[in-house]
Symmetry: C2
Subunit: 143 residues, 2 copies
DNA sequence: GTTGACTCTATAGTAACTACAGGTTGTGAA
DNA sequence: TTCACAACCTGTAGTTACTATAGAGTCAAC
């Protein structure tokens, strides 16, 4: 199977497939005589795995960790649970963050109930009067 | 006032200040004889505005739009409300997305209640069995 | 004058793709 | 066999919002 078909089967692009190979997520493919990549069922399965993880907003690093556990099973699946639990925690943290953000936005938005001149806009005044927010600490890869 | 002080006052870095100037968010500063940037109160105010918007996860484009409205006030603040409303809508959409994601993660996670070998892990089987997720459409800048 | 902090520009890197240029291969139809 | 077109290849650059670094210049205090 060539790369176009693999991409179609796993609902992504050939560029993404090549990118995953370069990133080491997908095993390097064998080549035809014409230097085309040749794929078999194990690549479908692996790429499907990767795409599902990505759909769950897992980072490449997280995926790499999981793949490592699959490829060199040393113990039970406790470590996999840990990756998942950590990811869930990150998702929850990001949700909380966005909820707070939404509150702030609503509070600001409620300062402007009727059309007035830009110079009198409660939102803009709010944005100007607020002390500037401290720089954010690095947080999740979820945005 | 020099750039280090401005950065300190607005709780960001000199690199970020220079970046905002390059991006056109912050007006170009005048220069001292030694080619150091010189800032006054209007820069403090503008940078504070920008940082507050960023703290609200507004994109540079959104900020640029708001600044345009401030600098060339043509009508009332209806347009500002629109920018805000649209941003709030994006935040809400992202929250929903993450909530669904969290559900999926929990469902998968619940397939693994006890320590077993990696080969028998319900999570991994789930990730492999799932049809791969279709490519995501471009969505908000919120992650 | 010296030293150390601050400033400058230019460049590159981060994450996860996405797009494109220019060249090669393969397949089906004429 | 030839041709046209689709698919493939590598390499490079771009997206967003920073962040870091190299190497050089400026400045204030000692």
């Amino acid at each position: 199977m060539k790369i176009g078909e693999l991409a179609r089967l796993t609902q992504c692009t050939v560029e993404t497939v090549r990118y995953y190979e370069r990133e080491g997520l997908l095993p390097v493919a064998t080549r035809t005589e014409g230097n085309f990549r040749a794929y078999g069922p194990e690549h479908i399965e692996r790429l499907r795995f990767i795409r599902n993880c990505r759909a769950l907003d897992m980072s490449h690093e997280e995926i790499r960790n999981l793949l490592g556990m699959i490829d060199t099973p040393a113990a039970g699946c406790g470590a996999i649970n840990e990756v998942f639990d950590e990811h869930i925690t990150h998702v929850e943290a990001r949700i909380r963050e966005l909820e707070e953000l939404k509150q702030s936005l609503r509070t600001l938005r409620d300062r402007c109930q009727s059309e007035r001149s830009v110079n009198d806009c409660g939102i803009l005044h709010g944005l100007t009067e607020m002390g500037s927010a401290p720089r954010k600490e690095k947080h999740t890869h979820l945005g």
